[in-house]
């Protein structure tokens, strides 16, 4: 009996030691987009703070949103797109307010970007901008010129929505994003109509445009085009600026002779911002604040921009960004391009439903 008792106490002791260990090794659960941070960012943070980072990734806003809506996601820090996602998450009460005293590097942020978020987040209480970019067109320049000739301007949505042009590019590969808002907005821009008109007629008008080219579209996907552009498997892809530029860099590294370019169409394009948020039920908000503050350090965020090819929201970091990236019109668009960029308003739940229905019909050819 005595032996049994002593083994029980040993076990209890071991268990209490284990829990003590768990408590001392503080954990931070980060949920971010894939390929959206530099290779050493997390390791450096762990070294500085002793906090163990559990880093998890997603490739669509919808997947992250579903986890947040279900509740008890276990994540301390998430990086959704501001509109429409973070906007409606604030309304649904999914986030907790930030503690300004824990964010000593906050003043580095670009005031213009903070201002642009204040209509969905008055007083910037919930959202910290991380990176921003545009949605435009990725092009395999040599192949497209070979098919369309040298005179055809490439900075136009006609590459994706003009049936006459798309039919010629079809065999070479044309893809649209699998995102009803992005594609229908681009179709509105192609028509030269206001892009944030979400009335049913406007949605149907845009849907008709997409339906007219649907038979020439190889697939609808929001990330597959990165590989396909880089490998020369596709010619024209509707996509995010940084993703297309990553494809360009991968093709350069591979030395496969594929010449990828990113264009912001002259008819106008959507500019978006991804933000950092702390879920209301985050287990470790203190560590999340530390990580946000760490990312607000210009010396930390500048190398991330160099790596992911997206512009950060940190005004103080711009001069630390590689000159080549800073002067890349696809990443930091010049004035005249910026004038063509539009910020999307958040459609209502009903409008989203109408859009997604139109979208399902387009994709399935019903």
């Amino acid at each position: 009996m005595k032996a049994a008792i002593s083994s029980v106490t040993t076990l209890a002791l071991a268990l209490s030691l284990a829990t003590a260990n768990l408590a001392s090794a503080e954990e931070l659960h980060v949920y971010n987009w894939s390929d959206y941070i530099a290779e050493d960012t997390v390791a450096n943070f762990e070294q500085q703070t002793g906090i163990k980072v559990v880093y998890d990734v997603y490739d669509s806003n919808e997947v992250a949103e579903a986890k947040l809506l279900a509740g008890r996601s276990g994540y301390d820090l998430v990086f959704p797109t501001a509109r429409p996602f973070a906007d409606r998450h604030i309304q649904a009460g999914l986030y907790q307010k930030l503690d300004p005293s824990a964010l000593t590097n906050y003043d580095n942020l670009d005031k213009v970007i903070l201002n642009s978020l204040s209509d969905i987040d008055p007083g910037n209480q919930y959202l910290v901008p991380y990176m921003w970019g545009t949605t435009g067109i990725g092009i395999n320049v040599d192949k497209v010129k070979e098919i369309l000739g040298d005179d055809m301007p490439l900075d136009t949505w006609r590459l994706l929505f003009d049936p006459e042009i798309v039919s010629k590019l079809s065999a070479c590969g044309v893809s649209l994003m699998d995102d009803s808002t992005e594609v229908l907005t681009a179709a509105r821009a192609y028509l030269g109509k206001p892009v944030d008109d979400f009335s049913t007629e406007a949605i149907n008008e845009a849907a008709d445009v997409v339906n007219n080219v649907r038979q020439y579209v190889r697939y609808f996907h929001s990330s597959q085009y990165i590989n396909d552009l880089a490998n020369g498997d596709t010619c024209v892809a509707h996509g995010y600026s940084g993703d297309v530029l990553q494809a360009r860099d991968r093709a350069d590294e591979a030395g496969n002779g594929v010449n990828v370019a990113y264009v912001v169409p002259s008819e106008g394009a959507v500019v978006w911002t991804d933000v950092m948020v702390i879920p209301a039920d985050a287990p470790n908000p203190a560590a999340a604040h530390k990580f946000i503050n760490y990312l607000l350090d210009p010396a930390v965020i500048a190398p991330i921009t160099n790596y992911v090819a997206y512009a950060n929201a940190n005004a103080a970091a711009t001069e630390l960004v590689d000159e080549e990236i800073r002067n890349d019109a696809g990443i930091y668009p010049p004035k005249e391009t910026q004038e063509k960029l539009v910020v999307l308003k958040t459609p209502s739940e009903r409008q989203i439903r109408v859009m997604n229905r139109a979208w399902t019909r387009i994709k399935t050819g019903q």
Binding site: S60, E62, V63, E65, A66, L68, L69, A70, G71, R88, Q91, A92, G93, L94, G173, S180, R214, V217, R218, Y219, F220, N231, G232, D233, E349, I352, R353, N356, R357, W359, T360, R361, I362, K363, T364, G365, Q366
Partner: protein, 299 residues
């Protein structure tokens, strides 16, 4: 008899109770949750649906049930189209799985006994690699500038790459490849137990091999055909990964539609009612089969 602590009947009850408990906890209970959500309405909140039972004032409770989702599924041709699309793809894939799987199972069952285990291992071996990676590998094989096309062009059979990826053909290839082992294993199990003396007797009486197969082997292996067929047909109807990765935009399947409702529309109630309807549709063949079997036994 009196002194026995456990009567044989109670012991049997206990043993049968375990699977019932398992089914109740991991099938019935989750299904009831899904059913509950399917009768609710979507809201922008956490979780994104309204509770059926709400406390209006203290003590006063209101229950609201919304059948609108089921009505929508019935009225809108899109959902019916997706359901029929899934059933069609599933039926065709099951047929091909059986066509390829039957000869494989037959060959293994008739192989010398020391060969059977290694051959079975070869069937099971792909499971050691993640399902997702195996489906991804097909992208590399089927794509425009992939292994298959490059080989065909190199061999001079074609000069333009075939477009296979993102077509229904790619979905069929992916499904048949992934689900083939589920047909081979039950078929093997029935074929290996087949009494070979029956075939010998038939041969002695002058029956030709082809007729032997049709009148003896095939009917006796029917339980394996049905088990294997069900193991393919039922999961393929709800399949999401293969059509999403290999299929084109026009591959209309219920699994993909459920994804859209759940993630893009954030309409958990509608997605749940789709799941509930799918379950009912899949239970029908099972019930019919049971009914059929019982009548057979009664005769």
């Amino acid at each position: 008899m009196k002194g026995l602590p456990l009567s044989p009947l109670r012991g049997r009850g206990l043993i049968i109770g375990v699977p019932w408990f398992w089914l109740g906890l991991f099938f019935l209970l989750p299904f009831l949750f899904v059913l509950k959500i399917s009768l609710s309405e979507p809201v922008l909140a956490q979780p994104p649906y309204m509770d059926l039972i709400r406390e209006v004032e203290d003590g006063l409770v209101s229950i609201s049930v919304n059948f609108g989702n089921y009505l929508l599924l019935w009225e809108d041709p899109l959902y019916r189209g997706a359901l029929f699309g899934s059933l069609k793809i599933s039926a065709i894939s099951t047929l091909f799985c059986l066509l390829f799987g039957y000869p494989m199972a037959y060959a293994i069952a008739r192989a010398p006994s020391h060969w059977r285990l290694p051959l079975l291992m070869l069937i099971i071996l792909p499971f050691w690699t993640s399902f997702l990676i195996r489906v991804y590998a097909w992208i590399g094989i089927l794509k425009g500038n992939g292994l298959l096309n490059n080989f065909l062009i190199w061999s001079g059979l074609i000069d333009q790459p075939l477009e296979i990826l993102h077509t229904p053909l790619a979905v069929y290839i992916g499904i048949v490849y992934s689900y083939l082992p589920f047909v081979v294993l039950p078929l093997y199990a029935t074929l290996v137990r087949l009494d070979l003396t029956l075939l010998e007797a038939a041969a002695d009486l002058g029956c030709r091999p082809w007729k032997q197969f049709l009148t003896i082997t095939l009917p006796l292996s029917l339980p394996g055909v049905i088990a294997g067929g069900m193991l393919v047909f039922i999961p393929v109807v709800g399949e999401f990964v293969i059509p999403d990765l290999l299929g084109g935009p026009d591959t209309l399947m219920i699994g993909k539609l459920m994804w859209t409702e759940f993630f893009s529309n954030k309409d958990w109630p509608l997605a749940s009612s789709l799941a509930a309807v799918l379950l009912v549709v899949l239970i029908i063949p099972f019930v019919a089969l049971r009914h059929f079997e019982q009548r057979e036994e009664a005769v």
